[in-house]
Amino acid sequence: MSPDFSSLVHWILFLPLGAALFIALFLRRAGAVAAWLSTGVAFAIAGLALRLLTAAPGDTRWHVELAKLGDISLGFGYLIDANARLMLFVVSFVAAWIHLFSVGYMKEDPARGRFFAGLSIFMFSILGIVVADNLLMTFIFWELVGFSSYMLIAHYFDKDFAAAASKKAFIVNRVGDLGFILGIAMCLSLYGTLDFAALKDHAAAAKTIPAAVGALLMCGFLGKSAQFPLHVWLTDAMAGPTPVSALIHAATMVAAGVYFMARVSFLLAPEVLDFIAISGAGMAALAGLCALAQTDIKKSLAYSTLAHLGIMGCAIGLGHPELALMHMAMHAFFKATLFLGAGSVIHGCHHEQDMLKMGGLLKKMPLTAATFIAATLSNCAVPFLAGWYSKDAIIEAAWHDGHFAIFAFLSLAALATCLYSGRMLRLVFLGEANSEEASHAHESPWTMTLPLVVLGLVYSVAGGFLASTLLPAGSLQPIKPALDAIAFHLTAPSTIVGLVSLVVGLLGALKFYGSVRGADALQVISPRTYHLLEHRWMDGLYRWYVDAVQRRVSEFIAFLDLLLINGVAVRWIGGGVPAVLGYLTGRSFHRGQTRAYALWIVIGSLFLAWFLIAR
């Protein structure tokens, strides 16, 4: 029926694992070799994924059972449907160019070998999530992705904030995973299987699906894709090297949650979908506004990512998982470009990350600037650029389906996007240089600019257009009808919103933030608003919980255990029993008096005699 691509998928999945092992065992000191090996493997995978994407439509399946625990079957297999192919291509393509970027960016880093081993392990993990055919396998690679993220965020482990950030990311992810595994257990209990295809059949046959199943599985999505209330780790994760932020925390790992939700969308009850939609829209608006209060360029982009993830979540919540996937694909390209551009800028300014100290880089780093601007325009959903196809479709879908509150939030999000984008452009590229480093900035080497050009100029600009024309309609079947249904109208609400945001937001921000030099205009004009947006409210809540509640409870229980169980129970029983016995016998066993021993012998033999004779 459909050609069997399982061997192709074997290569795609296990090449990076092999590369990671090889680097870890043999190439830790030989950084350059490790870098090129890892990059080569990444490009090979991208090529294979492209082959897969352009092939004829039809699902590929493969499955092997690893072991059985009682009646539970632990299986490993692939389910390559249209969504999987798209995601495989997006992930591997973006990742390949980020690998290339890293070769240049990490050139002077002595721990390069470890870094590239981490990137390869990450590739293995994320591709595993994409191809998985059952819930348990997804969970396995989910956790592995969390581990790769931990390892890569902690790359600069001699800095306290990097160590703390990696720990936070892992733990918050694990909180999400707690809900995830409970959801998996519930699926197994209700339907007796964990296989996606079988679950789809069960769900179709069942009248209603309990909301709890979707709610628990959603916890994994909340953790991995940094949705409320588990969003607190993403901004701290910027402590990792910039390519890590680009690859993991913008393009792929955080999108894995969206991909998973799309995969299991048939298990999500309406209440769950409503929650996702509302919290996603809210997050989109709020995060976009918070991005206005960050001076670190990477943190600002992190909030931007949070906003877009909210939009993707919203799309799923509205019942259009295919739109969410498309936005995820487009977002991967332009966000990766933005982060890589930020990396290039940081590299050019000699590791200065504060936007207020940059400025005037348009002339000094023209190629970086051009790609950054192109990606920014895509981010702001300028018509006919890649971002526009997907983002406006979602906003239109909200209006179309009658969810006006969500429409309002998404519009606010669109406005906020243009605002912070304009701010970023103004502070970084336009105006005059605000520091020594910025005035001596220079363009980055080809290993860094080539990916920018490819991802930025080519894909961010033309991505949507390319997607709909060059590739055979078959592979993108799930997306086309959704796109067609929401056709382009000049008077459509989303278009109006988009154009208004562009004019007011982008141009307004460009003008506004140029008014004060060397400082943030909003902070100068309205410090309270700035503080409101800048303060990390959820973080404060979590910090309070850990310090005040958790620490005290655990210390109290430890104290109780020592006092009650160890002190009272053990000592008293352990000391008490011999004390009582000793009192009863006058401690005569222990005094070394032979007469006492003789007495006890007599008593004992009398007892024995009674026992033997009388019974």
């Binding site: 009682g70 969970f139 733990i171 595994i181 257990a185 709890a212 229980i557 352990g574």
Partner: protein, 518 residues
Amino acid sequence: MDTFPATLLALTVTAPILVGLILLAGRDLPRSFTSGFAFGGFAIPAVLGPWLLVLWSDPATAPQQFESVGFWGFGFALNGLGAPLLAMTSLVGLAAGIKALNQEVEGRNTYLGLILFMLGGTLGVFGTNHLVGFYFFHEFALIPTFILTLFWGGEGRRPAAMQMAIYLTAGAMASLAGILIAIDVAGVPYGEATFVKVADGLQNAQHIPVAVGALVLFGLGTLASLFPFHSWAAPGYSAAPTPVSMLHAGALKKFGLYGIILLGLSSLDITGGSLGTWFLWFAVANVVLVGLICLAQRDLKQLLSWSSVAHMGPIFLGIWVCGVTGQADGLDAAAFLMVAHGLSCAALFLLANAVRARAGTYRLDELGGLAARTPVLAAFFIAATMASIGLPGFGNFWGEVGVFLALRAQPLWLQAVVASTVVISAVYALRAVAATFFGPASEALEKRWAVAPFGDLGWAERAAAGVLLAASLTIGFVPSLVTKSVNPVAAGVTTYSQHNTKAPAKAAPAKAAQPAQR
């Protein structure tokens, strides 16, 4: 040819004991000779143990191949549950042996000899199917630990050794009483009291006193650090010399569980009635309360000791849920976790000792920044930590997730409470890693480095930790190595347990399952 596996099994158990005897007797032998000899004593089981597991190809015929008849029914025999535990013990023993050989101690021969006795005793526990033999080897392995802790231990060894000795002996006495009464009630002569015969006998018994189940559960549970009988564990492991902690937490703890499964679960209805309720709550306390206690620890070795107590929680729950629901998956997962936990726990104790050797302290607030100086140690330690918190790829994952999945029919709040170990263990484990390895170097470390720069993990330490981690990765990637041999035993035990507690309708499968389980 038929007796080849049986011979291997006998050799696996007796080799360390014989070598230990010779070492204890020959105090004046030259050091190089004793080192080589002792290494042989550790290495032989390490080779034979996994080999025996691999030879276990057909679960239906395998148990008979591994039996050897001795005197008074006291021969060696291997069953599907014991085989992976035997393999795990032999590997942990090898790692402990390498560590012990690397240590500079007084009375080295006695030290090594006693550790070899520990190893041989533990191997004997898993290598016999006779109840009295089980108890005999159990004490044989346990008594050297008291002596070793008392004379060769670290800080606080006197009170810790005394507490361990009295506590564990009390537990052992309770379990012995339970075992003897069980054999008596089953009507089996002491010379023939194998697990199967006793289980069969108890199936047909008129009335089993409730106290027997309680004695066996709490007596053996003391050894497996079931809450609230766990107080001996943390000070005991902290004070014991490292090879002893490795073997104790890794292997000896598991024979309490082994006995609970093969005697308690199969025949004594430990999960029914009020005893079952106590069991459940104690197991949950292991997960939650002891987990919280771990969060409050400030000392690395104490943390590891408490966490080894906490990790017993999911294992107990797997056993409990098997008895309650009559499905073998919980028991399979619990057995898997027993094997995997032994490997990861031993590796962590070994590597924590390596940290102490370099930084001079176990206190978390005095450690820091070690990864920059000793990257290989950091890598191994993080790998072992990831294994113990259940990262996929290592064996612990299958065990933990298996238990969570086995609990699927239980109330959601119970599942959530049990699964919270996923978060709690991550918190304290990663906190320990960050405090020890990440961040800038602490003052204490700087001072030590200035006085005597220390090196990264040596080859011996790498070999020891590497063996354990490689084994964990192997069963993580190929779980069928363990499940193939455990599943039939678990199925058999489950059917036996159902007969005792549920309607007679389940008795029919019990008869059918008998030929499969021995």
